[in-house]
């Protein structure tokens, strides 16, 4: 009986344990490249947003442009006659 238990332990239990542990290790190793890729993408995305502060300049430019447009439109409103009402 002891021989049977020893053989089962050596032939069945040990390979099963090795197989299961190998599966866990492969799963953990497969995550590493994905995480490294995500880290690279996050760094690149952060770098792409370095130009975001320029939006403040854009906002100022748009404000000035619309202000000039309003002045120009006001002048046109003064010098041009309105359209005649539809007959």
């Amino acid at each position: 009986m002891l021989w049977l238990g020893a053989i089962v332990l050596l032939v069945v239990i040990v390979p099963v344990v090795v197989y299961l542990l190998n599966g866990v290790l492969q799963a953990a190793r497969s995550i590493v490249p994905a995480v490294e890729g995500i880290a690279a993408v996050a760094a690149a995305g952060s770098k792409d947003l370095d130009a975001a502060p320029l939006l403040l300049t854009t906002q100022d430019q748009v404000t000035q442009t619309v202000a000039g447009l309003a002045n120009y439109g006001g002048s046109l409103d003064v010098i041009l006659d309105d359209a005649e009402p539809a007959r």
Partner: protein, 202 residues
């Protein structure tokens, strides 16, 4: 030690060795994952920090642009009329009349006049600048002044072409020489000695 005990000992030893190897490898992999996730968190934190004011700034820019569009649309409709305004926009940007003007919901159902096909942009500008101008005397309310298809021929009809077929056959140029249909007699006195007038007697 009996043989059975030795086999048990070997089996347990193999199991322990496998546990040590695979668990240590798993720990190393998990530590690399942790380090990678730390980098991800740092990058995402920077993204969140940098993009925080974007929403407000873009909203402010859109508000300014909306005000500009409202101003231009209102001015165009006020000065040119809704129908001509739609036609003008459609002439500049073909197909834009289907969308209509944003602040004039009924403009999308209007049939836009084909302003852009008849006049150039400069002419359009002049026409819109002065309603009293001859070119715009009829166009704002009536039909177009020029026929789109015959516009080129109408312009050409104003000038004679090489063969003098339009607007009508012009008189031919005079023909000179021996074969000319009209011969002009040469005066005899041309080239002859000048006649001497009688001298005055004193």
């Amino acid at each position: 030690m009996s043989a059975v005990g030795a086999v048990f000992l070997v089996a347990v030893l193999l199991i322990v060795l496998a546990l040590v190897y695979f668990l240590v490898s798993t720990i190393v992999a998990l530590r690399r994952i942790t380090a990678g996730l730390d980098e991800v968190i740092a990058g995402v934190g920077e993204i969140v920090e940098k993009s925080a004011p974007v929403n407000d700034v873009v909203t402010a820019i859109n508000e300014q642009l909306d005000a500009g569009v409202d101003l231009l649309e209102g001015l165009l409709v006020q000065k040119a009329g809704l129908s001509d305004a739609v036609g003008l926009v459609d002439g500049m940007y073909p197909g834009a009349a289907a969308a209509g003007l944003r602040n004039f919901p009924g403009s999308s159902t209007l049939h836009p006049p084909r302003i852009g096909e008849v006049y150039t942009r400069g002419t359009l500008t002049l026409a819109r600048l002065g309603r009293e101008a001859p070119i715009a005397a009829l166009s704002p309310q009536g039909a177009v002044l020029r026929n789109v298809e015959g516009g080129s021929r109408a312009a050409r009809a104003l000038y004679p072409d090489v063969r003098h077929t339009t607007p009508e056959k012009l008189p031919s140029s005079p023909v000179i020489g021996a074969g000319a249909p009209v011969q002009y007699e040469q005066r005899e006195d041309i080239g002859a000695p000048r006649k001497r007038l009688p001298s005055k007697r004193s």
